[in-house]
């Protein structure tokens, strides 16, 4: 059939003859899921996709992520700071020693004044360089940071509200833009967005809103082992999955983020490589723990966890998920050794519900707020419908309150006792969570001090023992003790089945076989510096 079409298309083909110019071997073209290029001024928007492509590429943090390994969870490593430690006897004060000889893309120097200037940029709304857009992206990343000062040209002292052993993780999200560039461009962040200057391995060549972001190798990058091999990286916003797939198959891009599961066989057939790896992502139901909620009974929570056929959901997603057994996946350093094994066991689920006093005439009524799409939500509608069937099969009465992604995020800004949830009659919420660091994995979601609007403990879980375990982890300054404490936190959470754990995404991306050298880290962020084009 295509032979005839080919003939018919011959004339159109002539027109297109010059439409696809050849690129140099060192240019990588990426189709992003974002509808616009991420904010380039320093603190990116567009979630962690923004961090991935306009954060760790153009900028550095004091504490960077080691993204060089595929077989271990990514952890922090020295970035613009060479070392850090709390002040002896004063655990709320941290000293960060800065790397010397680091240059911005505009040639200016990086030092302690730059660090202070950048912290003022996001945390002091009275400072002239304060940028509300960057502040919006950065403030919740450093919830305990309250004071900062330069000790000398290459040393800064940062003060936290409480002793926080995990503070270095927080500092991995704060990027440092050039004060010189801001001055040169009339102190206008809108102009800086088009010609930003960071210290990262890539510099911005051109930023065309809604069309593309062009990055070029920064030869003067301070970490010589991470000077990019590529000449250029071109990033295109392509929010539609079918468009990304077509663009990759047609050779207009070399790499696409998040191919649709049903497009994977076609991509493979077209010779494309599907790259996946575990990473800290959690797709679960966060239940209401307030009095009167069916979820406040541990037997109901365990029954729900045992009712779900995760292998079936994995099949639905073409294998692009890990069957969840907790907040983090098995093999993760914080997984610990929970005694409750989350698996598919409908008979045990039915038994637990019966023990909890439920029957065919008296079913636990659950209503979950879900979205139709959204960042990290995978395929929310078919996945939720699958879970609904599983839950109802063991005796739950499951309903959904379906809303658009932005509406769900706004919905989550109030806890379950807020007007929005009361009006909708919901007693659980389905928002995928990034569990990158201990604060984002446990503290903000499970600690009783972090009920919205302060954090994301939407279901108002209050467990003094769990609070104590989390606090202990946050005050363990020794790394081994810290990891052990976090494993303890995780084991306890799983044993209490505090959430209904369902899936971990596999971070799929599809790329042309021409892309070589890429190592997919177990992280939301990825390193583009070792990539080459065949």
């Amino acid at each position: 059939m295509f032979k005839r079409v080919r003939v018919a298309a011959a004339s159109v083909g002539l027109l297109a003859a010059t439409a696809m110019p050849a690129f140099s071997q060192g240019t990588l073209r990426i189709g992003m899921t974002a509808a616009d290029i991420p904010q380039t001024t320093g603190q990116p928007d567009q979630g962690f996709e923004g961090f991935r492509f306009a954060g760790y590429t153009i900028y550095d943090a004091l504490v960077n992520w080691d993204l060089s390994k595929a077989d271990a969870i990514a952890d922090i490593k020295p970035g613009l700071a060479t070392e850090w430690a709390p002040v002896e006897g004063e655990p709320t004060k941290w000293i960060f020693k800065l790397r010397q000889g680091v240059k911005f893309h505009d040639g200016s120097d990086f030092d302690s004044d730059v660090v202070i200037w950048n912290l003022e940029k996001i945390l002091n709304d009275k400072s002239p360089q304060f940028d509300p857009k960057q502040a919006a992206q950065a403030r919740q990343r450093v919830p305990t940071l309250i004071a900062w000062k330069a000790v000398d040209k290459y040393t800064v002292e940062l003060t936290t509200r409480v002793a926080n052993a995990l503070f270095p993780y927080d500092m991995s999200y704060i990027f440092y833009s050039s004060p010189k560039r801001w001055e040169e461009l009339g102190k206008d962040w809108v102009k800086v967005a088009l010609q930003p200057s960071g210290t990262g391995p890539f510099k911005v060549d051109r930023a065309v809103p809604r069309e593309r972001l062009e990055l070029a190798r920064f030869d003067g990058y301070w970490d010589k082992s991470r000077v990019p091999k590529l000449d250029k990286v071109l990033l295109f916003p392509m929010p539609e999955a079918a468009t990304r797939t077509a663009a990759l198959l047609a050779g207009q891009v070399d790499w696409i983020e998040v191919p649709a599961p049903d497009a994977v066989p076609r991509l493979k057939q077209g010779g494309m490589v599907i790259v996946t790896n575990k990473y800290p992502h959690n797709w679960a139901y966060q239940p209401s723990m307030v009095e009167g909620s069916p979820w406040s009974d541990v037997r109901v929570r365990k029954a729900a966890n045992l009712a779900i056929d995760r292998a079936g959901i994995s099949k639905l997603l073409g294998g692009l998920m890990i069957e969840s057994k907790g907040v983090v996946y098995p093999g993760h350093p914080w997984f610990g050794s929970p005694s409750f094994d989350i698996k598919y066991d409908p008979a045990a689920a039915k038994k637990l519900l019966a023990e909890a006093g439920y029957s065919a005439t008296k079913k636990p009524k659950i209503k979950i707020a879900i979205s139709t799409s959204g960042s990290g939500q995978m395929l929310p509608l078919p996945m939720n419908e699958y879970v609904q069937e599983n839950l109802n099969a063991v005796g739950f009465d499951t309903e959904f309150e379906v809303m658009e992604w932005n509406a769900l995020v706004t919905f989550s800004f109030q806890p379950v006792t807020g007007d929005a949830s009361k009006k909708a009659g919901t007693n659980a919420i389905n928002i995928s969570r990034a569990t990158v660091d201990p604060y984002s994995a446990f503290m903000r979601l499970y600690h009783s001090d972090f009920v919205p609007p302060k954090g994301a403990n939407w279901g108002i879980l209050k467990d003094p023992k769990l609070d104590e375990l989390i606090n202990k982890a946050h005050s363990s300054f020794d790394r081994a003790a810290q990891t052990k404490a976090l494993a303890g936190v995780h084991s306890y959470i799983v044993d209490q089945a505090y959430w209904v754990y369902i899936a971990h995404d596999l971070n799929p991306r599809a790329m042309s076989p021409k892309v070589t050298g890429f190592v997919q880290a177990q992280s939301w962020f990825q390193d583009l510096t070792p990539v080459t084009m065949k």
Binding site: A35, A136, V409, P453
Partner: protein, 317 residues
């Protein structure tokens, strides 16, 4: 005529005001808010409140509307919450990209529709009539975003003869008139022209058929005029109705197609609106809709003027 045009222009003011009020009310009625779209999900309330204050969302709605109206009347449509860029720049750039596509799709759809509609109306053979009717039926029935995806699969993925997305090749900025950029336009233009092709073909066919049955055509034939001369008279008589429909269709095309522009990642008003809707970027939504409404009104006025010039029997005002 001049007074009529002037009066219509004056009428645009209250209509534009009404549109702006309606747009403002609609975007505020939708669930979700612009600040939650730009901050990560668990941002502290203090931060969210500060941003609301910074962008003026802490004020009562009437105050917000009046502030926006005040800024808009100066020609400055404000600043995008999502990107921090001036709305006027965003809308102008996107509108320019959409206009290019809209003109191409209009030219393709209207010229084909006139030929096909006239052929069907004149056709002695029922086969031709049925064929054209089928084409127009397909045009109005087939979802254009589906057709867009099919076109991409055939011409970009399977045949590899046309680019599947974007406004131009990677090494250029914006649109320009050259072969490479024209190639990027082919598929979106075809996909976008399908609906107006169907609608206008049906209108042209029906109107010409109706005109052909009028007595003046018999009189022209009796006078011994050639078919070609009669066709000119028929087209002139059918033009006002067809123009009115074309005007509306052109307006729809200029409004941009969210689906087509999203499928082809074409950075026009549809793509801009799509992104603004999901980000609850109220200044962009308000600014774009207002500019589009204004152009729609201007287009209707222009069509009315042309209709009057073509057929002086249509008296306006």
């Amino acid at each position: 005529m001049f007074l009529y045009a002037l009066r219509r222009l004056i009428y645009l003011v209250p209509v534009a005001f009404g549109v702006s009020l309606l747009v403002f009310a609609l975007v505020h009625l939708a669930p979700g808010d612009p600040i939650s779209a730009i901050v990560p999900p668990d941002s502290p309330k203090e931060m969210v409140d500060k941003l609301k204050e910074y962008y003026g969302f802490d004020k009562p709605l009437p105050v917000q509307y009046l502030r926006w109206l005040g800024v808009t009347l100066t020609g400055d449509l404000g600043t995008s919450i999502g990107t921090g860029r001036p709305v006027a720049t965003e809308v102008t750039t996107a509108f320019g990209n959409t206009i290019i596509l809209a003109i191409a799709a209009s030219l393709l759809a209207f010229s084909l529709a006139i030929v096909l509609g006239t052929a069907a109306a004149y056709a002695k053979s029922r086969l031709v009539d049925r064929l054209v009717t089928s084409i127009s039926l397909v045009g109005v029935s087939v979802p254009h975003f589906w057709l867009a995806i099919v076109l991409v699969i055939i011409f970009a993925v399977e045949l590899g003869v046309l680019p599947p997305m974007g406004i131009g090749p990677e090494n250029s900025t914006g649109w320009r008139f050259d072969r490479a950029h024209l190639a990027h336009m082919v598929l979106p233009t075809i996909a976008l022209s399908v609906i107006p092709l169907g609608v206008v073909t049906r209108t042209v066919r029906a109107t010409i058929k109706e005109t052909l049955s009028m007595e003046f055509v018999t009189a022209l034939q009796a006078k011994g005029m050639s078919d070609r001369q009669i066709l000119v008279h028929v087209l002139k008589n059918a033009a006002p109705t067809c123009l009115a429909v074309m005007g509306l269709q052109a307006g729809n095309l200029i409004g941009g197609s969210i689906l087509i522009e999203t499928v082809f990642a074409w950075p026009g008003t549809g793509f801009l609106l799509n992104s603004a809707i999901f980000r609850r970027d109220l200044p962009i939504l308000q600014g774009t809709t207002l500019v589009l409404a204004f152009f729609f009104m201007m287009l209707n006025l222009t069509v009315d003027m042309i209709q009057t010039m073509l057929d002086p029997r249509i008296k306006r005002g």
